[in-house]
Symmetry: C3
Subunit: 155 residues, 3 copies
């Protein structure tokens, strides 16, 4: 039987992808007590293609960046599903770290990162309201435009 969060995902038309395998020698998530740490997720779409490549402020638009951040968030949720089975076991999205591939001077990281934050709140409601740190980075794996990591409180 689908849970509350599963129903919300369906309402939003989101089909969780098969979680991306880590691109190297690490694991997608580690649980310690009630804290679940999910590895940084790149902006892969459901077909395993990057939603946006390159830098914000040097070719990638804010709108495309926000779509990329949203894709990172979907991938975080796919790993949560894989870790927990039941997404209703997420009691709080504690923190998102947003890494925006940015040219010097690009100051609109928060608008890009909203693509991830808005999705978390849409999917998890009040439990999705999180602390956040957004920074502009000089490079990301595979030249992805956005990477997002997450810390979650789970039951």
């Amino acid at each position: 039987m689908p849970g509350v969060v599963d129903k919300k995902l369906a309402e939003l038309g989101i089909v969780l992808p098969t979680p991306a395998a880590p691109v190297a020698n690490y694991v997608p998530f580690v649980r310690s007590g009630n804290l679940l740490i999910v590895s940084g997720q790149l902006c892969f779409d459901a077909d395993g293609k990057l939603v946006a490549k390159g830098q914000l402020g040097a070719g990638v638009s804010i709108d495309d960046g926000a779509k990329a951040a949203r894709a990172c968030a979907v991938n975080l949720i796919a790993h949560l599903k894989s870790a927990l089975g039941d997404l209703d076991k997420v009691t709080r999205v504690v923190r998102l770290g947003g890494f925006i591939n940015s040219a010097p001077g690009f100051g609109d990281g928060p608008k890009v990162m909203n693509g991830a934050s808005d999705l978390m709140v849409a999917v998890f409601g009040d439990k999705g309201r999180h602390a956040r740190t957004t920074i502009g980075v000089s490079a990301l794996p595979l030249d992805a435009a956005v990477e997002v990591e997450g810390a979650f409180e789970v039951s």
Copy 2:
């Protein structure tokens, strides 16, 4: 009645600003168990103006960067006050993450970040001694010179 930390802030002549509202769809802090995670804070002063803009190693001096880092720390404390009411409930500053808007090759991030670290130790004493990670980033929201995030153990 002012607590120990309130008195120390008064001694240092620090008036906590009204905590800055997040610039997007997230919250300033999340508590999970005894851990309080505070979102990345930009270097706003009490009037809501950035203490320093632009990059270290490309116009912003180390001294101005350190002042900016100190302002970030004051903003973290303002959120702690808002979250806890009583700052004496902070049992340990666990970790600060320091993000220095940096031109390539700028290697003095630690001197900049000391502006934040020194303040934490001045205000919280031994409880203020924290683990720390300092990195140089290519861009920050609003082109701020410094952003600092924090994790705190609270009672």
Copy 3:
């Protein structure tokens, strides 16, 4: 009597250095509950020299970067030893954060960061399998090529 992890370090021919003192006003690690947070470690070798300086994608090879990441991991373990006395008290490597000093467009951060991840798994076995976030940064303290921070579950 050497523990399991000590024996593995000996097998691998790894002699832990005297842990590097923090380069500024902070501490190398903080424990909160069963979580031990270790400050970001630069790629110092046993003689206190940086294994690699400068940027990946602009002079530093992937191979040298991976050696630098491995050195960061050795330094994390040196601090664990100092914090715990007995390395067998590490019940899980929870998360590594990898910061690769990178020119724009450098997309091979994960290959560099594997130098740290592979070592953790070699030393701690299954307990060494961790969540990970790798990003490219514009600058690092002392122009180090790599910095790695860690969160550990300890008993």
